[in-house]
Symmetry: C2
Subunit: 233 residues, 2 copies
DNA sequence: GTCTATAGTTGGATAGAC
DNA sequence: GTCTATCCAACTATAGAC
C-alpha cells in the first residue's frame, strides 16, 4: 500500500515485501498473545520467512515489535494532535468537552471507516498495547502518548476552568478506561448476555462521548470553594 | 490467616505453609508479568521451594495460577452478589443506579480498608486478570464473572426500565472499563502530569460512581421512541 | 538478502532418592 | 512432602554458505 524508498538500493528492489510481511505478522501475533507470548519463530513462520531474515532486518525481537507498534499507533496520535490543533485554531482556544473527547476518539474510527480491516487491526493492537505488562511496551506507551495527553489535558483545563488539573486528569483517565475497554472489544465478562459490541461504529463513538462528557461535567471538586467566577453549570 | 483443613493428614501438619507460599508467589508474579510471562521456576524460587514441590501440590502451572486467581477474586465477587441481595431485599427490587454501581465497586475498597496490603494485591491481580490475553485466563474470567454480571444487569434493567438491555449492557461495559483502568493504577500514559492516582481511596470510589452514574443516565436510546411513560428526566 | 545449522538459555514436567 | 537430577521442547540470536 505505502511505497517507502529509503534503505532500498538503486535497483527496483523487486521483493522489498519481506519487512512488511514481518511487521504485519508481528503486529497480528502481538495483538493476540502480547509481547512475551509472541515468539520470533511464530512471527517468521507466519511471515513465511526465516529467523535470520527477521534478525537481519530488525536486529532483535524487541526492535521488530517496537517497529510494528509504532507503525500502527503513531499515525493515530498524529491525527489526534492535528484534530485539536484545528479545533483550537477555529475557536480561539476554548473548546467544548464534547468536541475534545470526540477529537480524541475520532481518528481511530476514521481508520475503521477508511479500511475496516486496518481498523480491526488497530483496535486489537491498541487494546493489547494498553494492557501489556512488559517494560518495553510500557516505555513505548509513555513515549507515544505523553505529548498527546498533555495537549488534551491543557485544553480540558480551559474548557472547565473551575476544576483542578489533578481532578480533570482523573476524569480523563476514566475516559481512557472506557476507550481502552471498548477497543478490547470481544473481551470481558460477556458471552451470553451482551455479545461483543452490537452497535454500528459511529454509534459507539457517540455513546462514548456522551457517557464521558456527562461524567466529566458531573464530577469533581471545584478549584476554589468560594470564588467560582461563573462557570458552574 | 485462613485455616483450611482438608487434604491434611491426621497430624498437625507443621509446615503446611508451602502451598500458601506458592499461591502468594504465583499471584505476585502473575500480577506483574501475566500468564505467559510467569515461569514455574520464578514462582518456586520466590516461594523458596522447588519445581517438584509445586507440581506435587498443583500438578501444573495452569492449575497453580488458576488456584491463585480464584483465591483472590472469588471472595470479592461473592461480596458483590451479597451486596445486591441486600439492596434488593431492603427496597423491594428497585434500586437506584448509584446504589448498584457502588455495590459493585465497594467490595474491592472494603478489602483495601481492612488490609491495605491485601487491597494492593487485589488491585494488581485484578488488573492483570482483566487484561491477560491468554485463553486460560479468559475462560476463568468468564466463569468467575458471568453470574455476577447477569445479576447486576438485571437490576440495572429495573432501575432504568425505559432502556433496552443491550443499551444498558454497553453502558455497563463503559463502567467496567473505568473500574479496570483505575485498578491498573500506576498504569497508563501518565508519568509527569497526572501521577498515579493522587486521591484517597473512598474519594476515588465516589468519583467513579458519580462519573458512571452521570454517564449511564445521560446516554442511550429509549426502548420505544414514542411511548415513554415518564422516566425521561 | 535469505537461507541452513547451531550455539546457548530457559521453559514445563517427571523420576527417583530420602 | 520435598529434594536433586534430568528429559525434552522451545526460545533468541548468531555464524557462515550462497
Amino acid at each position: 500500500m505505502v511505497e517507502h524508498l529509503g534503505k532500498a538500493p538503486s535497483s527496483a528492489t523487486p521483493h522489498r515485501a519481506t519487512k512488511q510481511r514481518l511487521l504485519d505478522a508481528a503486529e497480528l501475533l502481538f495483538a493476540s498473545h502480547g509481547f512475551e507470548g509472541t515468539s520470533m519463530r511464530a512471527i517468521t513462520q507466519a511471515a513465511d520467512t526465516s529467523l535470520s531474515a527477521a534478525n537481519y532486518h530488525f536486529g532483535s525481537k524487541q526492535a521488530l515489535l517496537e517497529a510494528a507498534l509504532v507503525r500502527r499507533i503513531e499515525p493515530v496520535n498524529r491525527r489526534r494532535v492535528e484534530a485539536i490543533d484545528a479545533l483550537e485554531k477555529s475557536s480561539e482556544g476554548v473548546v467544548s468537552v464534547e468536541a475534545l473527547l470526540e477529537a480524541f476518539l475520532r481518528p481511530g474510527f476514521e481508520v475503521q471507516r477508511e479500511s475496516p480491516e486496518e481498523g480491526r487491526r488497530l483496535r486489537e493492537v491498541a487494546a493489547r498495547f494498553s494492557a501489556d505488562p512488559h517494560e518495553i511496551v510500557s516505555k513505548l506507551k509513555f513515549e507515544l502518548f505523553a505529548p498527546v495527553m498533555r495537549r488534551y489535558l491543557d485544553a480540558l483545563e480551559r474548557a472547565l476552568p473551575d476544576r483542578t488539573r489533578e481532578d480533570l486528569a482523573l476524569d480523563f483517565q476514566f475516559f481512557l478506561g472506557v476507550m481502552i475497554h471498548v477497543m478490547s472489544g470481544k473481551n470481558v465478562f460477556s458471552r451470553d448476555h451482551a455479545d461483543p459490541m452490537p452497535y454500528a461504529d459511529e454509534t459507539i463513538l457517540d455513546r462514548m462521548v456522551s457517557f464521558a462528557t456527562a461524567g466529566l461535567r458531573a464530577g469533581g471538586v471545584p478549584r476554589a470553594p468560594e470564588s467560582t467566577p461563573g462557570a458552574g453549570s
